[in-house]
């Protein structure tokens, strides 16, 4: 069996469904497709309106016009010159990249051990991880905040980045599910050939789990990029530490009713996420499906 085949079989690929050719009436087909198209228009409309408004002047947004006249691309330039946007994007990148790298360093080995090595209390640890991953973050916010305050790190993004060095519950869960799909025979074979445990992990398990590792990495990257509660808790006092999504939330309050500029900034916050998605679409869908548990 080649690697690609293994991956197809194990990675939760959505199979093309071969359906029974029933006598589904033409009418039903038309109805279903009309509903799909109508829903599609409704789902895409918000983004189109936001985009159109992002090209309007501040005055024009107050007229209720639906199309910009003239098309004011200047709003995007203004978003960069009128606000510390580069700084905010930099903060988001720092937070998301470091959190992701730290998470992978700590969580990939842990998930591998939980999936592939028999250890005492494995079930207890696994249940603890599920509870930790589902527990509302506000439940533990007070003691954790006090901890970081004592370390003098509140007022920065470090309290949100550093914990990833000690593993992230959701990522460990997702990675473990992925490692479970790797046939143990591969790992045993590598051991037979005399690989040390570390080499088995690095040379055999990690290459085979690449799609899962990519999914976990992208999920954490997005979680950090989109985070609002964390920056509100730790970095809200100091605009020089704001990530861009937090800055966007405060933007309209500080910039009055300039919807044009606000929408330009909104587009700028959305775009990187959408670009990453189009590059990693498959990984994404696989990851979500896997985290969703097949019963």
């Amino acid at each position: 069996m080649t690697m690609t085949e293994t991956r197809r079989l194990t990675a939760g690929d959505v199979p093309k469904r071969t359906r029974v050719r029933g006598r589904k009436s033409w009418l039903l087909w038309v109805a279903e497709n009309s509903i799909l198209c109508a829903l599609g228009v409704i789902f895409i409309a918000p983004v189109i309106f936001v985009f159109l408004t992002s090209l309007m002047s501040s005055d024009q947004t107050l007229t209720g016009a639906l199309l910009p006249d003239p098309w004011r691309w200047q709003n995007y330039a203004d978003a960069f010159t009128g606000t510390p946007l580069v700084r905010w994007f930099g903060n988001s990148a720092l937070y998301a990249v470091l959190a992701t790298v730290f998470m992978l360093l700590s969580s990939v080995p842990a998930a591998y051990v939980l999936a592939k090595i028999r250890i005492p209390f494995a079930n207890v640890i696994f249940v603890a991880i599920i509870v930790a991953m589902l527990l509302p973050p506000q439940v533990t916010a007070v003691p954790v905040y006090i901890m970081w305050a004592k370390l003098n790190l509140t007022g920065t993004l470090w309290p949100l980045i550093l914990p990833n060095l000690l593993g992230d519950a959701f990522s460990i869960f997702l990675l473990r599910q992925f490692f479970l799909t790797i046939p143990t025979e591969y790992i045993d074979a590598a051991r037979m050939d005399g690989c040390s445990e570390w080499k088995v992990l690095v040379r055999v398990a990690v290459p085979m789990a690449k799609p899962g590792i990519a999914a976990a990495g992208i999920f954490l990257f997005f979680k950090a990029w989109n985070d609002y509660f964390g920056p509100l808790l730790y970095a809200s006092e100091d605009p020089s530490w704001w990530p861009v999504s937090y800055a966007l939330a405060t933007f309209r309050g500080t910039h009055g009713t300039d919807w044009g500029l606000t929408m330009a900034l909104t587009m700028l916050v959305m775009v990187p996420v959408v670009i990453v998605f189009f590059f990693a679409q498959r990984t994404f869908v696989e990851g979500i499906t896997l985290s969703g548990v097949k019963g």
Binding site: V20, L36, A110, V142, D168, G194, T250, V293
Partner: protein, 330 residues
Amino acid sequence: MTIAPPRRAPGRAAALPGSPGPRSRKPRRVFAAVMLTPALLGLVIFFVYPLIASVYFSFTRYDLVSDPEWIGWRNYEYLFTKDPKVWTAALNTLWFVVFLTPTKIVTALCVAGLLARAKRAAGFWRTLFYLPALVPPVASVVSFVFLFNPGTGPVNQILSFFGIDGPLWFNDPSLAKPSLLLLGIWVMGDIMVIFLAALLDVPTEQYEAASLDGANGAQKVRYVTLPNIVPVLIFALITGIIAALQYFTEAAVASGVASGKATVGEGTGMTLGYPNGSLLTFTEWLYVRGFANYQLGYASALAVLLFVVAAVFLVLLLRKVSAFNPESRS
């Protein structure tokens, strides 16, 4: 991508020529312990300890400046008898639990059902309905508050085109929560993808067998599709409820943007709940008491209450843990 076979005879095996039986398990145990240590430390520092500490702090008065002072049950007495807003907040959160979660699930299931039947451009539709779920929540909330803004928002423009006088949406205390429900429907894509995978996983033979037995479309849905996807539905419902219990970002940002006031730092506490407390959720109230008013002891009492409620659903979910973990059934 290939797996490279080990190129030469490994040293350790050569050092023990012909040693019978399985190799010692000890190195494996050591390896496992070393690899797990950071994650276990993380669980203790960021999960076990804070849970215990929250319970302790909930019996104290603590403002981060002076030491915590033990005051017995007084935080809980205040919580259940005197706190002016905690029940507003709890009821608002309950509203989201009761309405947001089922609405999202039903919409996601319907769309997934349509997509599972669509033969043409299935990938295109899936992407289209999934993409909103990717939009950073802050951006989607800001967008929706703009779309639904009463003065010049496109939604009310379109409504007025049909001669309807659009309501105040996010600025109307009775409509602010339903407006967020619409947002919740827009971002249902992640659940939809899970449902779609589950629907496509239903074995085709079962439909064929049902057809042979003369089942009609509705009967096939009832007796073939539903039983197959029930576990996924239950999982989505429980995780959805736990997510609704911590509903924070959407409500907080909607309040801030709709009120149009500066919401920087400490100011965030001022706009939370706008309009008229209708969007004040339980976790927001916890944030206000703990981190805007620095009543960390009282906030801990709120956190303990939240934990107790969340724990009920966590236990329900853990009962289904075998769904995650086929080997752990023993």
